[in-house]
Amino acid sequence: MCICLMKPGLPGMPHKGAAMTTTLSALPAAARASSQPKVKGVQHWSNALFVLPFVLVYIALLVVPVVTGLWLSLNDVDVLSGDRAFIGLANFARLWHDDIFRGAIRNTFLFVLMTTPAFVALGLALALALNRQDRVGTALRTIFFGSSVLSVTIVTLVWRLVFMTDKGLLANVMHSLGLASINPLTSSALALPAIALVTVWWIIGLPMMLFLAALQQIPEEIYEAAAMDNAGRWRTFWSITLPQLRKTVALVAIIEVILQFQLFGQAQLMTNGGPNNSSRPLVQFIYEAGFQQWALGYSAAAAQVLFGLMLIGVALQMWISKRGQTQSGEST
């Protein structure tokens, strides 16, 4: 290969400052051998420096806590005395026999199953309805996204008022329909679905925005071609829009699975895990074990289980979406 180096003017050159072109292939072989690796090595190290800040932060804030958590889960840690004893997998064995922990896993899974499809379906429906360039569309997009910026304390406070027994909005509506009022937060069967409803209401804006962004990426010409091809509205949706959104559907599902596995604030503030542990999620279990019962090793073990479940969930989702792409022959 011939590499050309542009050098600034050298002493003795006819024009001071004029560029001189040297062709490496014209240099003696020994000179090439001595100069090339040196240049390569310098470039290699300078490149590594660009990623060093990120790597350091990544190690400090992610790798170290994960490894520490894993190590803690294998120990019996007494926070007050500072004693620590290695007990192997004993914490995990204890978790296996803990009914409350198993209930928390069940609740967390149920919550993810209730919310994630709702985020995908509702987010897409809202995006389709509000994908319009007029003032009404803009106003509605702002309103639907607006709730996402509220803090969990405000959201849960508002919804506790809505669900308030006999006086809340829900009770008033049911009274007006001639039905007996009910507070879902006090019902073992309805507490978790109620928290799921609140969560969907709260952060439906993000999936909606992701779908809107994806919808606006679809070229208008494709829809015009579909119109020329006699495709009706549903045919266009199923055959053109939905396949174009497949990657966004996978993205929204993965984001929501990760987020909803970490349910905590809403359950803590609305039901405190009750009634009868029916709405206690895994993160609340971890919190209570670690910061109320001060069983850090036990809490860390539960956190490892959550980590593993999330990993499995996301891997499963990615596998399904990748399999879908392979089956339809889509090139990446």
Binding site: E221, E224, A225, M228, D229, I240, G329
Partner: protein, 360 residues
Amino acid sequence: MAGIQLVGVNKRYGGTEIIPEFNLEIESGEFLVFLGPSGCGKSTLLRMIAGLEPVSAGQIRIGGQDVTASAPGERDLAMVFQHYALYPHMTVRENMAFGLRNVNVPAAEIDRRITEAARMLELEGMLARKPIQLSGGQRQRVAIGRAVVKEPGAFLFDEPLSNLDAALRNRTRVELARLHQRLKTTMVFVTHDQVEAMTLASRIVVMNRGRIEQMGTPIEIYRKPATRFVAGFIGSPAMNFIDAIPVAAEADCIKVRLADGTELQTGVPTQAARKDAKLVAGVRAESLTLDDASPVRGRADVIERLGERTLVYVTLSNGHSVVAQAHRESPVASGDLVGLHFEPEHVHLFDEAGLAWHAA
């Protein structure tokens, strides 16, 4: 095959009139090209024919039927878009079959049409590929194939060659011409490229600001441009325009005086032209040749040797620049003083309104 009639078609966006009352009859089997600069309304007109753009007033008839209010898919048309508009998640075969499945064409018939179109457009080895796996030229062939399998009454092409490189554009142009000869279906083609228009069209409609400037066969438009706009738009290099003042008529034809005082005999009949005080003489490079004996003189600035001919850019004594044509092996060099010979029968005159007058 279907003829298309546009009757008093009008397009407005709010208060802005894009296309004033537009009337045109496209014959069945004709290859008609809408030619004009960007923003002249040619694509809007095509989209109105396709039904992708509603008309503000007027009527569109296809095959004798009023389709003004019909959906695009109900007009028996197929369209090839500028950016191909292929469905990216479908294979070439699925792209071609999509429109046919929507109207419940039997599977065997779909296969037959796709096989035939693929053979005609040399797409046989690509039917299982996705658009992303194809080159620009192949994608455009697929887009054409998607239109062909529909066996429509008329094809609409919206600048289909503008995304292709020069060599591929030439090849695809020839393929389109062959396709028209083979199918003999009505084709309406929109372009701003005069070469495409001249080579493909059986009739050209030159448009400017939403109006028809001239309509005719390519040769008619080239030889007898109706207006100064058409004369300047058609032909490469563009027609030379030189300010001129009419002087006494000679041999029933108008004689004009150029700005440098030289007089130029034209072939334009005296009675034909308006008696305007100011005219513009127009002459194409191939009718303006080097002649040392000519009184019209100038200095050669730039010489372009194109192989089959030589173009000479000459600055006249009054500062006007014109392009003349010389023999391919002409010894003319930059800086030479040259004389210019105007062929009187190929000199056009344009009056102050921009209307053209030609030699009889």
